[in-house]
């Protein structure tokens, strides 16, 4: 049996109905570029002698800043047409952990989670309180409109039109599709 290489970093950008037939070459390439950039950023931290915690934060920030992924800039909309973001981080060495939930003004929620872990005695903060704490720790705050993206807005409108009670996972049907199917009647 061949020995597996030694990995130092792995990432994911969400799972779901992701099919080659629904993906244009250009969109696929766009995803690959961001994923590679995320790996690269995390790797540079590790290569420079940085900690795994810093590498994780660096890699995730890249994906949070991309509108392609359901985190940060590409976050989906809730029923009210708002973005609500969650993040967590854990240090395996110390078992320290930090998390934020339901935040709407933190550009990179992973940095807020890291601040909770490293600069508070708590593990989780939610909503306005988490935003206030992040701001005091120098985490970048943005206007909620920063998170608005057309594909995610369209996805919400599609669901509301079909069934206002339905929720949809990350890649349940949305922006990875080239075009809306003509016939949405299934079953």
């Amino acid at each position: 049996q061949m020995k597996q290489p030694t990995y130092v970093l792995a990432i994911h950008g969400g799972a779901g109905t992701i099919l080659k037939k629904n993906m244009s070459d250009a969109l696929e390439q766009a995803y690959r570029v961001v994923l590679e950039q995320s790996l690269h950023e995390g790797y540079q931290v590790l290569k420079g002698g940085g900690t795994s915690v810093d590498a994780v934060a660096a890699a995730i920030r890249v994906m949070e800043d991309s509108p392609l992924f359901n985190a940060g800039k590409g976050a989906v909309f809730n029923h009210k047409g708002e973005n609500e973001l969650d993040a967590s981080i854990m240090d395996g060495k110390t078992l320290l952990a930090g998390a934020v939930a339901g935040v709407q003004t933190i550009r990179n929620p992973i940095m807020a989670a890291k601040a909770v872990m490293e600069q508070s005695e708590h593990v989780m903060m939610v909503g306005r309180g988490a935003e206030e704490f992040a701001a005091t720790k120098g985490v970048e705050i943005v206007d909620p409109s920063y998170f608005w993206t057309q594909p995610r807005w369209d996805a919400l409108q599609r669901i509301l039109k079909r069934d206002a009670e339905k929720t949809e996972l990350d890649h349940g049907a949305p922006q990875t599709q080239l075009a809306k199917p003509n016939d949405e009647k299934f079953g």
């Binding site: 940085g50 890699a59 359901n70 395996g92």
Partner: protein, 134 residues
């Protein structure tokens, strides 16, 4: 949802997960991503980040389950532990995936959906990015 697991040159692991949740969610619904042990976990042996239908990951304490299996039995591999958790989630009707990295630098990335955006980088800097089922 996005996530990352890393192993540094000191042999220490970390895991992170970040998400926007579900489209059209109501009432302040929160999934597994910010919940330590459900969507994210790391100890000295393994680091885990999850993505998928959050309620199932919370109910199965998915990320911690991988770590627990490895701590209870030296006979089980990281990949087998991760696959078992995804199978458990699938059996309950949930879907999604996870990335797992252990202290030996072995990685597992099981998922039960059509695809999962994922990537790895080796100690030597070799990048591998995948999207669909192999």
């Amino acid at each position: 949802t996005v996530g990352c697991v890393a192993l540094d040159s000191y042999g220490n692991l970390a895991a992170g997960t970040s998400t926007g949740g579900m489209t059209n969610k109501k009432y302040g619904r929160v999934g597994d991503s910010p919940i330590i042990g459900a969507g994210n976990y790391a100890n000295k042996q393994v680091a885990v980040s999850c993505t998928g239908w959050g309620e199932f990951y919370i109910r199965t304490v998915a990320a911690y389950d991988v770590a627990a299996q490895l701590s209870y039995s030296s006979a089980i591999s990281t990949e087998a532990a991760a696959k078992a958790v995804i199978e458990k989630i699938g059996a309950l009707g949930g879907d999604g995936g996870m990335i797992v990295l252990d202290h030996n630098g072995q990685v597992a990335m099981p998922f039960n959906t059509e695809g999962m955006y994922r990537g790895t980088i080796t100690k030597e800097g070799k990048i591998d990015v995948r999207i669909y089922k192999d």
